[in-house]
């Protein structure tokens, strides 16, 4: 045992894991306390295997009686597989980022002699830091034979990769010899979730965020919370429930758990706060949208929590002049003029002098004078522009043909497919 320990330390030092070689190797004499470690994941419920028979069968009531006598069955409904008996975790299992690593540390004096001044220190060495996890740093004055020092440590895992739990025990023998030894318990922290995001820009200032969350562990996961914490610029609406009369039902059905390798899509709608939306020019380039906060639970409430890094989004490039729609009817009558209101925003850094031209397409006919002067528009300023047009063709028609020319730079901006409108024949619709 001792020899091995010496080797371990030597090896680790070789590997450059930033561990100093201990000052003193444990000597080969007894007494020596021992360190035992057990990871405390949640216990599991024992499942039994129901094998039943009927009274008329050969074993008669034998099987039934055996099952009734079995302490792990549910009395009264023995055919129910999932029992109530708790069993301790039988192996280390996997540990995932965001989960809490709990462990029982038991320091036991197996020898027949008393040892004194025992100090147990549990440190967790990650690839970046070393944390002290021991509850107390006080030495225990004496440890009698067959007795032990118990400690339960907890640590929320915040790093992926190799972790090493270092248990250092220093003590004094009855002979007054000061001794010291360490034990290392190494484990890997894995990634539990795979998160992918995608942004969709609406015609308005709204942004839709689709987040695909995949469970890449080997057990099913109950998603307790998947929320988007928006940055200060946005308000968020979660679109993952369907509102019925009084309470919303999840879009994922009755059970909100994810089987291994299952992916689920969450949708969020982000609206810029009014004070930011006013200055439309402000939201451009890269903006911070917010971050996803994910809380999940597994077996008997084993909890995990993760946050993504700040999600960033490139606002769609509007060029120098942005044309957006303030108002448009969804359905209009054939060959009847209708009104739309456009909003023209100067997104550039300079003042513009704009001229509006309206070009008819085969279906859309603009009413009014083309080549109208809109006047000067300063940076980040906008102006509302009511326009009238009619359609000569039925069906879903795309509104196109607006041209803005900046007379300062002699640059023309074209706006096609600004919006769609449904054109119906009024007589037909009246009949129906």
């Amino acid at each position: 045992m001792e020899v091995n320990q010496a080797k371990q330390e030597h090896l680790l030092a070789l590997k450059g894991l930033h561990m100093e070689i201990s000052g003193k190797f444990p000597t080969f004499c007894n007494p020596k306390p021992n360190v035992y470690l057990m990871r405390l994941t949640k216990p599991t419920l024992f499942t039994n295997m129901p094998v039943t028979c009927e009274d008329r069968d050969l074993p008669g009531d034998l099987f039934g009686r055996l099952m009734k006598e079995d302490p792990s069955t549910i009395k009264g409904s023995e055919a129910l597989m999932l029992g109530e008996m708790l069993t301790l975790p039988q192996n280390f299992g996997n540990i995932f980022l965001g989960e809490t690593f709990s462990s029982y540390i038991s320091v036991n004096n197996d020898s027949s002699q008393l040892v004194k001044d025992i100090l147990v220190k549990a440190d967790l060495q990650t690839s970046s830091q070393r944390l002290n996890l021991s509850a107390s740093n006080n030495a225990v004055t004496e440890l009698k034979p067959e007795s032990c020092i118990d400690d339960v440590i907890h640590h929320e895992v915040k790093e992926i990769g190799t972790h090493i739990l270092v248990c250092a025990v220093s003590y004094t023998t009855q002979a007054g010899e000061k001794l010291y030894f360490r034990k290392f318990f190494k484990f890997q922290v894995l990634k539990p979730l795979d998160v992918k995001t995608k942004f969709y820009n609406a015609e308005t200032d709204e942004v839709f965020l689709e987040a695909q969350i995949q469970n890449i562990t080997t057990s099913s996961m109950f998603m307790e919370k998947v929320s988007l914490e928006p940055s200060m610029m946005y308000n968020v609406a979660e679109l993952n429930t369907v509102e019925t009369e009084d309470e919303g039902t999840s879009t994922f059905g009755k059970m909100s758990y994810l089987q291994p390798m299952d992916t689920r899509q969450y949708l969020y709608c982000l609206k810029p706060k009014p004070e930011f939306a006013e200055k439309a020019g402000v939201i451009k380039g890269v903006t911070v949208i917010g971050k996803l906060d994910i809380v999940w639970k597994t077996n008997l409430g084993e909890r995990g929590r993760l946050q993504t890094s700040q999600l960033q989004r490139m606002a769609p490039g509007y060029g120098d002049v942005r044309l957006s729609l303030e108002m448009i009817p969804d359905t209009v009558n054939l060959e009847e003029p209708f009104d739309i209101t456009c909003k023209i925003t100067n997104c550039s850094e300079r003042t513009m002098d704009l001229v509006l031209e309206m070009c008819n397409t085969c279906s859309i006919h603009w009413c009014g004078v083309s080549g109208r002067q809109l006047g000067k528009v300063s940076p980040s300023a906008s102006l509302a522009l009511p326009l009238k047009l009619l359609s000569s063709v039925q069906g879903l028609q795309s509104i196109s043909g607006l041209r803005l020319t900046d007379t300062f730079l002699k640059r023309t901006y074209e706006y096609d497919d600004i919006a769609q409108v449904c054109v119906v024949c009024p007589y037909m619709s009246r009949e129906s």
């Binding site: 091995n4 371990q8 090896l11 590997k15 450059g16 057990m38 599991t44 499942t47 009927e54 008329r56 050969l58 074993p59 099987f63 055996l66 302490p71 792990s72 549910i74 055919a79 129910l80 597989m81 999932l82 109530e84 708790l86 069993t87 301790l88 039988q90 192996n91 299992g93 996997n94 965001g98 029982y104 970046s128 830091q129 400690d151 339960v152 915040k158 992926i160 190799t162 034990k183 290392f184 318990f185 190494k186 484990f187 990634k191 979730l193 995001t197 942004f199 080997t218 009755k254 059970m255 909100s256 758990y257 906060d293 639970k297 409430g301 929590r305 890094s309 989004r313 490139m314 606002a315």
Partner: protein, 834 residues
């Protein structure tokens, strides 16, 4: 280690960090992660692997069965895979973002409208990067400052990455709460540790050297992480590379289909195929003695049309050379002496009576049986053995309503046709294709042995093992009575042996599968018991092999109508309903839950149809026979309970498949058939939700349980309610409250084994190992009948391992108490002695 760094080395390490930064991005490139990386980056990977600690990358699932030379490469490969993972982590996040910048440049060039600002931004990023590089140069080896650098990188990088494709999927890096930017990229820093101090600019050779050194040292006894490390470390290492030993008992619902997980069910660990041991067939063929069990069966079922096609029915005798009779004396004395020792009538004593009973059968064509060696016993004794006797005349007369009720089954259309023609052409032979008959036979005939005794011999020597006395197939009466005795004393392995003997006597012994034989009620009951016991013993593969000749249990010769002369007037299935359930449930234990579901669904359809028939005033099989009200009620009740059994099986199967939605639905639907089980079922559903982690819904169900138990009006708080409350506390990590809830249950029901065990488990989580141990030990000593259960023993041994280096001795003490009380079916794995 870091302090050993000499300033001269730094430029070298800077170079390395630079390349390392670029390389993972190559592998992460969106287009195609080519395996062919730059050779230099390959080397860096190796270096990385060294620093990240060699064997650490062998996940618990991977075993160390590769030879050292192979494992070197394997390990390196593993690490290369892993390193991609690492670059996913927040640590190296800047690397993802560096690449897009190159692409960006090109893209920007193509865009007309894009102002120069973007380019400026870009160069800014690059500048920052250089700064960072300088910082690295300065601060290399100092963890804290490096974190800052990472932070800086993080802030800059998104600017570069996101403009590229704003609508593309952006893989978000996960970081934990409170820690958006973390960790030093060890990969970047560590190469310097392994580079020789000579400061050579190309560290490849050195790195290789280091890596080989590394791997060789790996092969020596290694380090670290042995959970429950025992004295002999190298040995443990050979088995368990990472020290995380996959062991034992996990509830099947958890472990099935978990793929790479380390959880292993006892069934997976258990030897699925029986150990080679003295052959059972030797019992018949080599003893030279007339098979004592052969004549156990009255063979009147060997009616004319069957015996023609069934020459092997009597084969144990016909195959034996005639001189066996002559040489029997020595062999028989051997076996009989063994039997008489245990004070049980010699098996040969049954031969006579069966002969006498066999005489009335029509057209006996079987080879003439050799005359019994010993005098026949009184007829009455045999009658006692055949409690549910199948005397054709008796059954015809006593063909009770109960029989009809229990035997009812709906055969498939094809089978039904055969059976009808059988009934109409009673005296002429009906030709049935061989393929359509059930022709079972034993698929293995070795004796099952006693694992407890084997373990005792191994650990404590023959002397101690002598104390272990269990019943074997030899030590009981060779009859149903003996069989029941073995089952009730939990000697299921011996019981399996005995069923084998009895079935061999019936002509369905080892190697008889695929050979025509006849069935009767008793043979099918024997098969049922045998298969049920195999299932209970988790010998699923054996059970499946032996069930295979039965097909879907719908062959015509499994119905009474097929034997009009033997069972005149009797109708329905010879196969007991429980055997059908077993047949349906079996595939799920062998990783084929879908097949189980299919079978269960068709069973459910039959049950439902029979119930519908009964409710419409018809007989079970839909015929117009009038049933008395009493019989109808009895039948309705029976079939409802059967339906609920099938539903239970379905729900259990769904739970195993982790299809929790359907499982919960199915459990819920059982309430309508078994209203008296409402409390248990609702609690069970609640526990399923707890298992998933959905505590809120679980609480909802537990509230329903409370209501239901109030309705029942038990007055005092039900133990069930308290138990549920404890589970909720447990799920909230509130172990002390959970413990007191379990303690409250014990106030009401001090002998409740579940509450006792669970309270002890809570104590461990509260850091009170000694108390927990004392409690469990006390329980096992005081009431071994209740607490020598594998779950309790498993908990106890786990705590022994945590508590003391003398766990093996303590476990052996447990084994001894097991040996005194438990039968040969005890699952020794829970003692974790192997």
């Amino acid at each position: 280690m870091d302090n050993n760094e000499t300033p001269a080395q730094r430029p070298v390490t800077l170079d390395i960090t630079g390349t390392v930064e670029v390389k993972p991005s190559l592998s992460e490139a969106p287009i195609s992660p080519e395996p062919s990386l730059l050779p230099s980056s390959d080397v860096h990977f190796q270096e990385e692997s060294i620093d990240l600690g060699g064997e650490s990358f062998i996940t618990p699932e991977e075993d160390s069965h590769s030879t050292p030379s192979e494992s070197l490469m394997d390990k390196l490969n593993d690490q290369m895979m892993e390193s991609v993972m690492i670059s996913d982590s927040p640590i190296n996040s800047e690397e993802d973002d560096v690449v897009p910048m190159d692409n960006l440049l090109e893209q920007f060039e193509e865009r007309e409208e894009e102002p120069a600002a973007a380019v400026v931004k870009e160069t800014l990023v690059e500048e920052e990067k250089e700064e960072v590089g300088e910082k690295v140069d300065d601060l290399i080896g100092q963890d804290t400052t490096e974190i800052k650098i990472e932070a800086a990188m993080m802030q800059t990088s998104p600017v570069a990455s996101s403009p590229e494709e704003p609508l593309e999927n952006v893989k978000q890096k996960l970081t934990t709460v409170d820690q958006d930017v973390i960790t030093v990229s060890v990969s970047a820093v560590t190469p310097e540790d392994s580079t020789p101090s000579s400061g050579s600019p190309k560290p490849e050779a050195a790195a290789l050297e280091a890596s080989s050194k590394e791997t060789t040292s790996k092969d020596e006894s290694i380090p670290v992480c042995t959970i429950f490390s025992q004295g002999s470390q190298p040995k443990a290492q050979a088995l368990v590379p990472d020290g995380f030993q996959p062991t034992l008992i996990k509830s099947p619902s958890f472990s099935s289909g978990t793929g790479g997980s380390t959880e292993i069910t006892p069934s997976q660990l258990a030897p699925l195929v029986c150990q080679p041991s003295p052959s059972l067939s030797k019992f018949f063929s080599d003893s030279g003695h007339v098979n004592p069990a052969t004549d156990f069966f009255d063979s009147f079922t060997t009616s004319s049309f069957i015996s023609i096609s069934n020459p092997n029915a009597e084969s144990p005798k016909s195959a034996a050379p005639p001189e066996r009779q002559l040489s029997a004396s020595s062999g028989s004395s051997l076996s009989t002496s063994g039997l008489t020792e245990s004070g049980i009538p010699t098996p040969s004593s049954f031969i006579g009576p069966t002969q006498t009973e066999a005489t009335p059968r029509p057209l006996q064509q079987a080879p003439v049986e050799p005359a019994p060696a010993t005098a026949p016993q009184p007829f009455t004794q045999l009658q006692a053995v055949f409690s549910g006797g199948d005397d054709p005349f008796a059954t015809a007369l006593n063909m009770s309503e109960a029989d009809k009720r229990y035997d009812a089954w709906l055969p498939s259309e094809e089978t039904r046709k055969v059976l009808i023609s059988m009934a109409t052409q009673q005296y002429s032979q009906v030709f049935v294709e061989r393929e359509r008959l059930a022709m079972p036979g034993l698929k293995f005939d070795n004796l099952q042995g006693d694992a407890v005794k084997d373990l005792m011999v191994r650990l404590m020597g023959e002397q101690a093992a002598m104390k272990r006395q269990v019943l074997t197939a030899n030590s009981v009466e060779q009859s149903f009575l003996g069989l029941k005795q073995l089952i009730s004393t939990k000697n299921w392995r011996a019981a399996v042996d005995l069923t084998g003997r009895l079935l061999t006597a019936h002509g369905q012994g080892y190697g008889k599968a695929g050979q025509p034989s006849s069935h009767n009620t008793d043979s099918l009951q024997l098969w049922f018991v045998r298969l049920a016991l195999l299932t209970k013993l988790s010998l699923f593969q054996n059970a499946e092999m032996e069930l295979e000749p039965f097909g879907n249990l719908d062959q015509p010769d499994l119905y009474y109508e097929y034997y009009p002369t033997v069972y005149p007037g009797r109708r329905g299935s010879m196969v007991p309903f429980s055997m059908r359930v077993l047949h349906a449930e079996l595939p799920q234990y062998l990783g084929k839950p879908q097949e189980s579901l299919d079978r269960l669904h068709s069973m459910r359809t039959v049950c439902q149809t029979i119930l519908d028939n009964l409710e419409q005033g018809l007989a079970e099989d839909g015929s117009m026979i009038n049933l008395t009200q009493e019989n109808r009620q009895a039948s309705l009740q029976l079939w409802k309970s059967r339906l609920s059994r099938v539903m239970y099986a379905m729900a259990n199967c769904l739970l195993m498949m982790k299809d929790y939605v359907l499982a919960v639905e199915t459990y819920h639907s059982i309430i309508q058939y078994e209203p008296q089980q409402k409390v248990q079922l609702l609690s069970g559903i609640g526990r399923i939700f707890l298992q998933i982690g959905d505590i809120k819904t679980a609480e909802k169900y537990f509230l329903d349980v409370e209501k239901a138990s109030l309705e029942k009006g038990s007055g005092t708080t039900d133990t069930c309610v308290l138990m549920n409350r404890a589970f909720i506390y447990l799920s909230q990590n509130n172990y002390s409250e959970a413990h007191s809830s379990f303690a409250e249950v014990l106030k009401i029901d001090p002998k409740n084994p579940v509450a006792n065990n669970n309270a002890a488990v809570c104590l461990l989580y509260l850091g009170r190992l000694k108390e927990s141990l004392r409690q469990l030990e006390g329980l096992v000593q005081q009431d071994p009948a209740l607490y020598l259960h594998e779950s309790v023993l498993f908990n106890l041994t786990t705590m022994y391992e945590l508590e003391s280096s003398r766990s093996t001795q303590k476990k052996q003490a447990l084994l001894e108490s097991v040996a005194c009380r438990e039968g040969d079916s005890f699952n020794t794995q829970c003692l974790k002695l192997v």
